[in-house]
């Protein structure tokens, strides 16, 4: 035993790394991919295994006993459901996001501003349950003040599909099958899409929260991951993918 541990630094792999199961909202795919590399460099004994899906899907999986150690949700409401059931512990906000309209590069429906959204022949959003879908509906409900009472209905009439996570929503626009979609601003950063901003008065602030899953098998590594998100390099990685991090909040 002692000999094996002594050898470990010379022969990586002799000492199997701790596998940390991180469940994260789809919109965090690239950002957490970046954080994973930085985290593993800082914590060589830990192998973070990332699993992405809609926050509501991950919440359901954790409720049903999925072996997660950390849960990062795009919506505090999904986290609150788990906290209420005593399934997560010590939740905290670590990033902020907002919504945007995306259109294919060719912009076939000619959507130049949010007001043009009813021009979309085919609009795709998330289901009411996925945070990105809930936020999109919130924005449309608030749009009456700016664009009149018929605007929201004119837009919702154009919805042709409701997807279970925000990356599936984006994919429909990337493939050119949808004329427009409502996703997070950060989803537009890495995608082959054009961005049409949501008017500032209508946009919502999506708060991303993270917590350790109670009964996870790697509580120490889970704490390390959550603490690492507060580090300067992790915050820079998140900001690099377009997220607003707590330190810079209010600036943009």
């Amino acid at each position: 035993m002692a000999a094996a541990q002594a050898c470990a630094p010379d022969s990586p792999g002799a000492d199997p790394p701790v596998r940390l199961a991180v469940f994260a909202a789809s919109s965090l795919t690239e950002a957490f991919g970046d954080v994973e590399g930085l985290f593993e460099a800082a914590h060589p004994g830990v192998d973070a295994v990332l699993s992405f899906a809609g926050s509501q899907t991950l919440r359901l999986q954790i409720e049903r006993g999925a072996r997660a150690d950390v849960f990062a949700s795009a919506d505090p409401a999904q986290m609150a459901l788990l906290a209420g059931a005593g399934l997560v512990d010590g939740e905290r906000a670590f990033a902020y996001n907002e919504l945007a309209v995306i259109v294919p590069p060719g912009n076939p429906a000619g959507i130049e501003s949010f007001r043009d959204l009813p021009r979309a022949e085919r609009l795709v959003v998330g289901t009411e349950r996925v945070p990105a879908g809930a936020y999109a509906r919130q924005i449309l409900a608030a749009s009456a003040g700016l664009f009149g009472p018929g605007f929201a209905k004119a837009v919702t009439d154009r919805i042709v599909s409701e997807e279970s996570n925000v990356r599936l929503v984006r994919a429909k626009v990337e493939m050119g099958e949808a004329d427009a979609a409502i996703v997070y601003r950060t989803d537009a950063v890495g995608g082959r899409v054009r961005v049409v901003p949501v008017p500032a008065g209508l946009n919502v602030e999506a708060e991303y929260v993270i917590a350790a899953v109670s009964g996870g098998r790697r509580p120490a590594a889970a704490r390390q991951w959550i603490e690492f998100l507060g580090s300067r390099e992790a915050q820079e990685a998140l900001a690099g993918r377009g997220f607003v991090v707590p330190g810079r909040r209010g600036g943009g």
Partner: protein
């Protein structure tokens, strides 16, 4: 093995009570999804039988390289995952797909429509019918078909009055299996047709969507779909056997008469 096949279904039944099943049936998503599934699978089965029967007949009547190549194409949707079928359908009939230069000027937009649901079902379900029908046609006695022709039947008459009735048990078994596959179609539909209540959200998609909101509704919907499958299974097993007995004797009688 038998336990592994049966236990999940038993667990599904025990996870729900009669009251919850009724609640599931009263859920707003239940009837639109069931009605959509019924309509789309009826349409896809009509297309599968109309298009698949001549193909199966052609496959049964010939041998050689070409038939083997065609058989491979027919089997392809069975061996590739449904998600791949969905992507392939998008690449073929999507807005930027292979056929978009033909479809777009006609104003035909398939993705996100009920027609896309039907098309996805046809592609994943047709192989089951075509293979079963081809096997049934191969089993029919070629001499009977020759006799029918010498007695003055046209090729069409020979097919309709002799070959099709003889192969009927196999055709029905294939159609039922194919229908069951269409009813359960999920992956290709989700990708190619999307997910919207009333137009593309069939029963399997409704179960998937309900799971995110209310697991009990999802269980009840799942149970209702499993029930529909079980109801389908009874005639699926009984009718072809019955027909085989009936038409089997008819065929023998013809043999003696001829």
């Amino acid at each position: 093995m038998l336990a592994l096949l049966a236990v999940p279904m038993v667990a599904l039944v025990t996870a729900s009570s009669w009251e919850e099943l009724v609640r599931g049936a009263r859920d707003a998503s239940f009837w639109p999804a069931l009605w959509l599934s019924a309509r789309t699978t009826f349409a896809s089965m009509a297309l599968v039988v109309l298009g698949g029967t001549p193909l199966a007949w052609w496959m049964a009547a010939r041998e050689g390289r070409w038939v083997r190549a065609v058989e491979m194409i027919v089997d392809l949707p069975v061996v590739v995952p449904p998600a791949v079928v969905g992507l392939a359908l998008l690449e073929a009939f999507g807005r930027n797909g292979l056929f978009s230069p033909v479809l777009a000027p006609l104003g035909l937009h398939l993705p996100f429509t009920t027609a896309a649901v039907v098309l996805a079902q046809v592609v994943v379900a047709a192989p089951f019918y075509v293979q079963s029908a081809a096997a049934a046609f191969r089993r029919t006695d070629a001499d009977l078909l020759i006799v029918a022709r010498t007695l003055g039947q046209s090729p069409a008459g020979t097919f309709l009055r002799v070959a099709a009735p003889l192969a009927l048990p196999g055709l029905l078994a294939g159609a039922a299996l194919s229908w069951a596959r269409a009813l359960g179609e999920f992956g290709a539909t989700l990708l190619f047709a999307g997910n919207l209540a009333g137009s593309t959200r069939t029963m399997p998609l409704a179960i998937y969507t309900a799971l995110e909101a209310d697991t009990q509704v999802a269980v009840s919907l799942a149970l209702a779909l499993a029930g529909a499958g079980a109801l389908l299974l009874l005639p699926l097993r009984a009718v072809p056997a019955m027909l085989a007995r009936r038409f089997g004797t008819t065929a023998r009688r013809w043999h003696r008469g001829g």
